[in-house]
Symmetry: C2
């Protein structure tokens, strides 16, 4: 036995980009080889990026991904490489008993694939260990494509040390592969993951790793993907935990990283000091920044457009955008209507000045007037009430989308989760755009994030970006005279806990009332959430930060007769 040096490669792959992902893997391998590592570990499905979704239904895609695996294997020599890949279930040695002949059913052919940890060494694929527990809940659909693995694979001999490998979810089962591998004598447990961010998730990962190691002396090497992918943000936070449950090394959060550790003969871990875990608000803020940056850059956008209302939502979105892609790539537009207050413009201007972004002002009155006559002919009168409110919001959407079309900048929408939930937004109006930066952030948390970001600036000796007046005035959509959000919705301090219970915890109205919430408010809020499903179905994607986001995390029928 001898000490072994391990590289933890926390990459930011792009889903489907087999060429780019291969290049990033090969580069990390070169770095690890240069550092005389004995082992390098990569995240789950790193060749395809996670989640590749229905790209996996394309046989041609899977074949190309498998070729990349073989090409990488051919490059290996002494240093062992463990990475996540997709191969046919057949190649992974899995039986297909019970797999349906889908052609017969007239449906698209389902894939029979395996989500594997591939062990590469000496120019070949030494072992394929298929994931056994395939998550098929929340944002995950793995049983759509993958056949479950049937055993935990063999221990890998690395200079006399026994190394076991588990794929993501397989770590979470108390009696699963991780336990079995330890019983066989694993001294190092490699856990490859694509684990998305949510509040508190990093702590849960480290807790579960500690629980799985139990009282043994096994070292855990946990590698996670980093980066934004549509609705998901992967926060990285890869770590190495020694047999006593202490995190001895931790990769950066929300950034690619390559960390090396040395595991000595008696399984002590030598590493540079572990980066500290990140606080709750800081991690949420960074998730929003990374989600926005990656959605834009991976889709080829350099510039963002934000409609600045002078309110708190568009304020935090423009600050996040500036942090994500640079203030010089953010263009803000104020679009006052006949009902806009003076302070909405002055607050927007003050914010833009502090942020160092362009602010242009384009009033919507000419279009508003035009539509009064155009709609007047169809309605017999000029639009009033909700029709006029939605109209103004849509006229702004048309303006932003026009500038977007002409300049190639992506419109970032500014609706928060409380609004998405209750339908307090206008379809094709304020919800129009490419990415909905705070769609999973409840309004009360929006305020917390604003204060967090201001304090961060002050701590850095910078000026707080968000003017105090934006944080203290009463929220208003300003779509009619003297309008306030609280005319239409309960106060956000009352609303947000009800929404969290109804959405994130799937409680019924009855259960919420039993918890002590006001029965009438609960009934109204639940009804609002239910009937706004059709709006949410047409919203842009945005980063998930809570235990349950709108989107593929919550698949509610639009047509839904349940009241409760």
């Amino acid at each position: 036995m001898a000490e072994i040096k391990v590289a933890v490669a926390q990459l930011n792959p792009t889903v489907g980009d087999l060429v780019g992902n291969r290049a990033a893997i090969v580069e990390a391998m070169a770095q690890a080889k240069h550092a005389n590592c004995d082992l390098i570990v990569f995240p789950e499905l790193v060749i395809t990026g996670y989640p590749p979704e229905d790209l996996l239904n394309k046989e041609g895609f899977v074949a190309q991904a498998a070729s990349v695996l073989d090409e990488i294997a051919a490059m290996t020599s002494e240093m062992c490489v463990i990475l996540g890949a997709v191969v046919s279930a057949d190649r992974a040695g899995l039986s297909l008993a019970g797999a349906r002949d889908a052609r017969e059913s007239g449906m698209a052919k389902p894939a029979a694939l395996a989500n594997v940890a591939a062990v590469l060494r000496h120019g070949r694929v030494e072992q394929l260990i298929a994931k056994q527990l395939l998550p098929n809940y929340a944002v995950f659909d793995e049983q759509r494509w993958f056949v479950p693995g049937e055993d935990h694979g063999s221990l890998i001999d690395l200079k006399g040390h026994h190394v076991g490998v588990v794929v993501c979810e397989d770590l979470w089962s108390a009696d699963g592969p991780a336990k079995q591998l330890q019983a066989l004598g694993a001294e190092v447990m490699v856990s490859i993951n694509a684990s998305p961010f949510a509040r508190g998730q990093q702590q849960r990962r480290e807790d579960i790793a500690r629980a799985r190691l139990g009282q043994g002396s096994c070292v855990m090497v946990y590698v996670n993907q980093v980066g934004g992918q549509d609705e998901l943000v992967f926060d990285g936070g890869s770590f190495v935990m020694d047999g006593t449950g202490i995190v001895t090394a931790r990769a950066k959060l929300f950034e690619p990283d390559l960390v090396t550790v040395v595991i000595d003969d008696d399984l002590a871990v030598e590493a540079d000091e572990a980066i500290e875990a990140m606080g709750d608000l800081a991690s949420i803020y960074q998730a929003l920044v990374l989600g926005t940056r990656d959605y834009m850059t991976k889709n080829g956008f350099r510039d963002a457009l934000v409609g600045l209302s002078g309110g708190v939502d568009s304020a935090i979105v423009s600050v996040i955008a500036a942090d994500a892609i640079g203030a010089d790539h953010v263009r803000c537009i104020a679009m006052p209507s006949r009902y806009s207050s003076d302070h909405s413009l002055s607050d927007a201007q003050e914010l833009a000045t502090r942020l160092g972004v362009i602010l242009e002002t384009i009033g919507i009155e000419p279009a508003h007037t035009a539509y009064e006559s155009m709609l007047g002919s169809a309605l017999g009168q000029a639009p009033t009430g909700l029709t006029e409110e939605n109209l103004q919001s849509r006229l702004r959407g048309v303006l932003l989308m026009g500038i977007s079309n002409a300049t190639g900048a992506m419109v970032l929408t500014t609706g928060n989760k409380s609004e998405m939930a209750t339908g307090y937004s206008t379809l094709y109006g304020d919800s129009a755009g490419g990415y909905a930066v705070i769609k999973d952030v409840p309004k009360t948390l929006v305020y917390e994030l604003c204060h967090y970001r201001n304090q961060l600036a002050i701590a850095r000796g910078e000026r707080a970006p968000i003017p105090e007046n934006i944080l203290t005035k009463a929220p208003s959509a300003e779509l009619r005279p003297d309008q306030r959000d609280e005319d239409s919705l309960p106060a956000y301090e009352i609303l947000d806990p009800i929404l969290a219970g109804y959405i994130e915890e799937d409680l019924t109205a009855e259960e919420l009332i039993a918890q002590g919430h006001d029965p009438q408010i609960v009934a109204r809020v639940c009804r609002l959430v239910d009937i706004a499903e059709y709006k949410r179905r047409q919203m842009p994607p945005g980063p998930r930060i809570t235990a349950k986001a709108f989107g593929k995390d919550r698949r509610m029928p639009i047509t839904n007769g349940f009241r409760g």
Copy 2:
């Protein structure tokens, strides 16, 4: 042994509407009892409607649905009732080995439920038979909520006849429960289903029933749900097949129905003459009509708005709308721009006259002019090119949505599948609305449906609704002078087969070229499909009629680096 009388209750439940669905079940039971039936069978998950999706994650919903089951059971006496229901996996006697403690993972708790056929008799639940094969492909997510059944249940004794029961997918496996129940001596096989429509699906169902019966003398009683549910249309078409493989009774297609048959001592089936199967175009057309009607009525809408361009897409949509909800509930709006041709207005007027729907004309020039100056200030010049084209489309969207807001009518969008696929549409413009009636209908099929509907009218002695000129002129969006679709897209006769291969068959560009398609056209079309994913994500739902529709049937990443 004696003859037995069986009622096949093809209901149209509404997802989540436990009260309404219970009432429909109880009414059908009363009818069957009045007709002296020995057995009545209902579709899969009829109490909740199919698919209840993440309503199943609400414990309170599942508990209420289980209460409805018990209430219905309490009403039974001699007549046996077989219906689809959801109960806890525990109640269905299923083991939960391997079920993850989801709280630990920080994710929403996944349900541990069973999708059962409940056998009710003598005031109680006699047997719960859990579905074993849980489809988790295409539009199905059943492994998200359900634990698989472990055995096929016991045969039911009905006046000395042995009756076996299978739930939907369990019929499709050659070695599955259907075979095992026959080996035990089943003489009548009850198959309860929620099988959505797609082209050719009814034939596949009858073929598979015939294949499962094999050479035996077993009678198949196949009951299916009918009705529209968001993206899905259930076509009904319940049938009874005798031991020789002949369909002796068939329920109506696209309508609720209650059919009774008598199975005599030697398993001969007596029934009224079976309704004929429906042709391909007729069934597609009816699926679109039912999908539209149910989406509107189940969501509380009585009236529809359609923007009439004088083109073939808005023509077929307005005809479908009139067939779905009545011409007097359809309001059509022509919204000419400075680039509209004379014939677009005259063709629209001719169509409206033939259909008997209101047509109003509201030009968008005032808004167009207003935005030229508003956008001009931001862009340094009046909008041109794609920006001006999209602008016009969005100005129409704003107009229709304004009328919708003021009148409560639902906007039906008119984009076809060829346009959805290639992104030949404007986000928040022509794609703005509540239901996208022909989003799964390729352009070439739109023409076929127009001809079908015209011929149907002529066969009925009515005037063909769609004027010849609409069917013969070259397709154009009319967003710039002399524009034609074929300036931007390949001819639809060339485009549609490529799209079918790329989307419905998941072929790669390489594979399509190998089939003989033009390499440059293939490369361009595949690229167009890939980069339009972000638009499709924000489109309204519409009825699925092909083997793979956009929506939950095809879950492609937006951020996607794969080119192939």
